[in-house]
Symmetry: C2
Subunit: 484 residues, 2 copies
């Protein structure tokens, strides 16, 4: 058995107009099978259905197929990148483009269900959002579930670090992400690899994806280049409110970091939350990234970075002792299964009832769902880290969330540049004001009514009040229970 | 974070009467967490619900909890072992025991669904058997599916080769089997390991199960002993029919091996099919074992065996170049997902319509489902290898299968000690007679009517007719297709 073929062009030669093609890869630059995508572009096939987590940014990414008008339908977790010069997918396509947005973990799970030979399944993901509209709904154990369809593929194009002739694949770091789920769902699986190793060289226990899932192997004709994009969020300066400066973005992240208890497992969303990892040195907090890392550390300057070790924001990070890597399916098993103690996300708006929005706005167009809707299914405690107001001055903490929600009634804590607010049965409770701001100032800048009950006033010291919060958080894991 | 606890007794001290406990391990002897099970036995807890693939055979296995009357309900793929001195589970329990039989792959998948935070799912497994009775049924793409429930656990007891202090586990060979699915489903996960390695020693890519799924680690106080049981099937001599001898069991296996095409992926069931692996030296046939091996070779004499490298019949085997290991969930993704070219199973009876039975009989009591019902969902070609008649002389190839079926209308080929029979739209077609037997002899010993169309008479040589069969088989993979 020798699955190695001579070139990317040869490997994709039987793709056809209308083919349903899954593409592995993550975020803005990572682990896309760039030469296979290039070969599909050169084939000039049209009417394609492309299934991918995100479009990427370059000619080697699924984006280029959309830009060339080769795609009829896009099934993805991201159809737009907020703040990017590239608009929503349907706006950049020269042909009519249908877009189906699917939460990231659910996207991998739908492919995995097809690959596992299973039928539709009930999922709690996004059951309280517009994405559930028109789908079959049922209640189990008091919780809403939506019937989701398996997502089989004609072809799967994935990247792996190495392969042997039998098609056994080895992944490095966080580069496997969607690779295994795309491969399992596809009738024909083509893997682009950095190198072929002689059969018998791989230890059986080290194989990342067994060769039975892989049909063709192509060696990349060129060495992969690490393209890191500078995180824009770091540059954001403190904003002014009532003539005074609040916390900077980094200070918001630092405040969140201080609230996390020792021994916890925590997921950091993209944006302000990403910076929390810079403030955990020496702390026993294990960070979970949905692209397939557990136990990553601080962010790194690109020259020192490993191309395959990146966080969910596509930034290079260190790996701590005790780190592990896995694929997107397993990353979301951890999250939906209730293994996280806390999830920290950014938001456009948070309502007084704990409903929040962070994936689209009426003006954004498209949507950047990512993994947020999967993460809020069983987030332990859900902490929102964001600026207190829009740049326009519009409050972001509102009586009622006006944007399409990411999750309803699920926010536990909000940390902004001006305040820390906890949600309980009374609504929002002001716990801390940033230096220079009074509770009255905060209320003035907040649409939602706040109950004022500062941690500092509650007990002898704010430290023990925060310890109370941490203890609550440490009990936050909500795992499914057996039926008695 | 240090998850290491001092002893098995300490690790299980908060188990309670009535706890739902998942136990990893496979087959008759392998990879059970024997010291944890022993500690549960010593605790004397009763009213337990035990979820396990099989009962094992020794005091370190789930069997001992049943024998001591500690179990109220058993959820398992095997509640009896055919030919064993140990009777059905409910017959050996001194207290009333409820038994829920679940096909092996489905059992792992139901635990995995709980661990992944998903709801019920539609499964094609056993949809045409008595196990589907009373369950919600629905048709998708012309195929019957049954709604299956997630199976969450209070506690998970598993075995792994090594762990670090953060709970990251490393498995060896086929020893992971149910470990990951049990761990994902359980609220509290306790792993028994051979050794603790210092945190930072494990490469992140080598972790088999990330520590987020593991709560407590115990080091085995004693070295594991390899206990191999001699396969009884090898001793079976040729049987006599009409005063003449048919093929021996090994010769049946040899005949099956010769029919497999090069480049194929094949699963071998327990019993006669297991011996097929002894006749594939130098052949490009990749063997799949549902306990988590792809690419194993011949069976080995125990002194040369690796304790963690065993086939689905719990026999030691070699690993070929290009082998890989994985867990039960992934093993059945391969099978149900349609990646196998052929599945070879034993049977008690096969009907003319391709319905067969191999998991229980009216006299056996209990049931040994194993993975057969999962394997026949998309078996590629399903080949039955069995004796032509019962020892009593009763034909096993019958007009209509009288025992509870394992699968309906799914058998493609039957290889017995007397004949090779193919099933097509006409019913059963006799393709080969064993030396010394005529088509009339075979029909006399067969309840089902046979169309006689011998491969040897069809073309210039029987070899090319067999090549035709092989080519059909090589097209046998039936993967799910995208909806157009």
């Amino acid at each position: 058995m020798d699955k190695v073929v001579g070139s990317a062009a040869e490997a994709v030669s039987d793709l056809a107009p209308g083919s349903v093609i899954g593409v592995g890869g993550f975020g803005i630059v990572h682990a896309f099978p760039v030469h296979l995508i290039g070969a599909v572009r050169e084939l000039g096939l049209t009417d394609l259905v492309i299934v991918t987590n995100s479009l990427g940014t370059d000619s080697g990414h699924p984006l280029s197929l959309v830009q060339q008008g080769q795609v009829r339908k896009l099934i993805a977790a991201f159809s737009a990148r907020p703040g990017s010069a590239i608009g929503p997918a349907d706006a950049i396509s020269p042909v009519p483009l249908e877009v189906e947005l699917v939460p990231q973990g659910l996207l991998a799970e739908r492919m995995r269900a097809a690959g596992a030979g299973l039928g539709p399944f009930f999922s709690p993901v996004a059951a309280d959002t517009v994405l559930a509209e028109g789908k079959e709904r049922r209640v189990f154990g008091g919780r809403d579930y939506i019937l989701e369809q398996p997502l089989p593929l004609d072809f799967g194009l994935i990247y792996a670090h190495a392969a042997d002739q039998a098609g056994n694949l080895v992944f490095r770091g966080a580069s496997q992400n969607f690779g295994p789920s795309v491969a399992k769902a596809a009738r024909v699986v083509i893997a682009e690899v950095d190198e072929i190793v002689e059969i018998g060289t791989l230890r059986p226990d080290d194989v990342g994806l067994p060769g039975i899932f892989v049909d063709r192997i192509v060696v990349s004709p060129a060495r992969r280049e690490a393209v890191w994009r500078k995180p824009r969020v770091d540059e954001q300066q403190p904003r002014e409110y009532l003539g005074r400066r609040g916390r900077s973005g980094r200070q918001i992240a630092e405040r969140v970091a201080a609230l996390l208890p020792e021994g916890s497992y925590v997921n950091l969303g993209v944006g302000l939350p990403t910076m929390v990892s810079d403030f955990l040195d020496g702390r026993d907090v294990t960070l979970h990234a949905e692209n397939g890392l557990l136990g990553y550390g601080t962010r790194l300057a690109p020259p020192d970075a490993d191309i395959d070790v990146f966080n969910a924001a596509s930034e290079p990070v260190t790996l701590r002792q005790g780190a592990s890597t896995f694929d997107t399916v397993e990353a979301f098993e951890m999250a939906r299964g209730g293994r996280l103690d806390a999830v920290i996300l950014g938001a456009y708006q948070v309502g007084a009832d704990g409903t929040f929005a962070n994936w689209t706005t009426p003006t954004l167009g498209g949507g950047a769902i990512g993994g947020a809707m999967d993460l809020v299914v069983r987030p332990g405690k859900l902490i929102i880290a964001m600026w207190h107001c829009e740049r326009s001055g519009q409050p972001k903490v509102v009586r009622q969330c006006a944007y399409p929600p990411t999750g309803t009634g699920c926010v536990n804590l909000i940390v902004t540049d001006l305040a820390v607010m906890e949600r309980d049965e009374r609504g929002l409770v002001l716990r801390e004001c940033s230096p220079g701001f009074s509770p009255a100032d905060i209320q003035q800048l907040t649409d939602a009514p706040l109950t004022v009950e500062l941690w500092a006033d509650m007990t002898d010291s704010s430290l023990s009040a925060i310890a109370d919060w941490r203890r609550t958080l440490a009990r936050g894991r909500v795992l499914p229970r057996p039926v008695p």
